[in-house]
Assembly symmetry: D3
Homo-oligomer: 158 residues x 6
């Protein structure tokens, strides 16, 4: 098997998608950041009283999705038509779970946009809370759904 | 305890670091992406024959470090003086381990730059190999060293 | 009434426009910067002799329109097909009036692109002349025309 | 009088500040967006219930300050050390008043950063509420304080 | 003859392409960087042993193509669908020849994207080897092929 | 001899300059674009009557210098303190000669900033005049002066 991002000589290129049809595409990615229960309490209680960590992370994730083609060298620029970020405190981690959904009408998929949205949101949580705990860990960032386009539906059972 | 990225009213702000001294600072972050042994073989064998996935990821990580203040809403722009990314194939995962080292002479630390470098490199690996395997997972992204500045040395025992 | 940029839980999102048709759209915005008659004379006389303030501001406005989705968090990236900026010295202010016209063939309107073009041009005038007068004021930036798309034509009588 | 952004031949240039000392500098700018009382109520009531327009605008303003040298052609890139944005609902307009404060330790002032922060926050409010009212107007954007550097303190009496 | 990037009053504008059809377009540009035979040997031998200068330049060229509308003031943002960069050592120069190919499905051509890809790759070679030789020269950067769109095929005989 | 942009294993990195002193640095680069005498006349006559090609190219060059660290993968971000672009019509080419001067007070040189400024200005001239002549060629882009820093003065006799 060969890797599509390299040509026959092994040189990196941005794959030619000009012959592919414009179709409706969606991708969903997820990930989490784990922390101590005390730090998680700072975030969840802070929402009302001290400052909205999750609101800042959500916005960072949405804006991060728009920077995907700038960050990932061989990504095509795509006309993103929707970005939504869901953030949920989970006491069982303890930590925050993030899900990112991105849509486009384009010639290639938005997996990287969804994954970039999720990681940007997670990095932003780290940034905002790192004064309280440096040992937080970003975990299990993965694609959970991809649909639209010729390669068909991909879905992880959760 | 309060979170430094919010003021007394709970409003987000970019923290005033103008009174802090300019000191030499370093941060090191790490993370990994797990995949099947077959996919890992595609990367490690491809290096010589089909295309240099790790070389592309390394460059993406270096350039990603320079975009940190653009991606993370409350980060200060800093004059980065060094970025190095180490990528190692690890059959025991199986997958690729990534370490990112960033230095600055500035008024605040470069933890976020190191973490952004690592996640950008990991996302780029995902992008380049996703045609072979969509189920790869980004794992255990964390800060392992921070030094310089008033808060002193932070180091994770590895 | 609810605000479209928030979901049912009050969380910000980039609105899903994937079901909207691609149509020809146009938006026109305007604004002004007021200054002393002496400062205005520096600009209008300078055009020929000392330097083209309005030429620089025009270019900044055009380039600013292209950065709209990067600046405004919930804006969709759009394929802009035209940007024109008109700058007129107005002795009755005294000051400069700016009008910006933007077109696209996309799934949502270009109001924000037109408003961003106008404010970027106005800020650039401020920057270039501030050594002469710091008290200049940006005034009355507003949308004056929007057409194309389902919500129909919006026009301010001027 | 000549304009500093042009050389003796009337050509635009980025002024040479390499001989100026690095000093602590601050700038404060302000502005407002006017709207109907009904629209203002949507924002102020929405804060708690439907979505935080002002929180999104605050973040956009902070991030906008960091993009100043990218937007304004002849601005020097500066190491910003603080950005804070204050947003206040004012029933007497009716509308929202925005104040932006920016600090740096650099060789030239941060007036443009403060003005860009304020206009970006105001444009973001427009974007988020435009579905309810297209006739909102951005008003009276101006510098209110500048200090540090050789030209001394500039302050508008408010 | 008039220049299309100026209106009837001689003011720069981004040309209105909204009435033009979306068609498949391609452009190819080329250029070279000349250096001493010793420096060229450093690059060609280094590929295997010391570091892949051409691999870094290729990636920079691909990413540079995506920044064209950000760099060239009156360029339209276009949905690039392919970028490929070919780099060849040429002992007869001595130096490196670079060819860049860009495709889009858009309303205007990608000549500037191909030229920007080539110059970015050439500048990156300069950057990476400048410690060995500062006297390298970028030469003969030109468009060699353009096709698609109303103005028809343009091709330089090589 | 080894190349500084690679480590001992041949991996690209952003060179550690954190131990280097902050000194005043300057770099000057030059280049040209050749065209037919008729096209050159369009530019030189147009300045007064039809539109200021050279004014647009100058601004693009200045803004291009600020994007250097974003374009060239291993460049350090630097606090640029001056950019000036000189454009001269030369009937003997026929064409336009461009010289770019950049200053910084930093830990590494601004050669790449000067070269990027010149190539961006030349590309912008191509863009603005390409409707009249596609066969223009960018020629002889090179560093002509570098001073400041430990490696001493480099100057090309012109």
């Amino acid at each position: 098997m060969s890797l599509t991002h390299f040509d026959a000589d092994g040189h990196a290129h941005m794959v030619d998608v000009s012959g592919k049809p414009v179709t409706a595409r969606v991708a969903v990615a997820e990930g989490a950041i784990t922390m101590s229960a005390e730090t998680l309490a700072l975030i969840t209680e802070g929402r009302a009283k001290k400052g909205d960590v999750l609101g800042v992370a959500r916005l960072a994730g949405i804006m991060g999705a728009k920077k995907t083609a700038d960050l990932i060298p061989l990504c095509h620029p795509l006309p993103i038509t929707k970005v939504a970020i869901e953030l949920t405190a989970d006491d069982s981690l303890p930590g925050i779970r993030v899900t990112g959904t991105v849509k486009t009408g384009g010639q290639t998929g938005v997996e990287m946009e969804a994954l970039t949205a999720v990681t940007t949101a997670l990095l932003t949580i780290y940034d905002m809370v790192k004064a309280a705990e440096k040992g937080m860990v970003i975990e299990t960032v993965r694609l959970v759904l991809k649909d639209g386009g010729k390669s068909g539906r991909y879905e992880v059972s959760r």
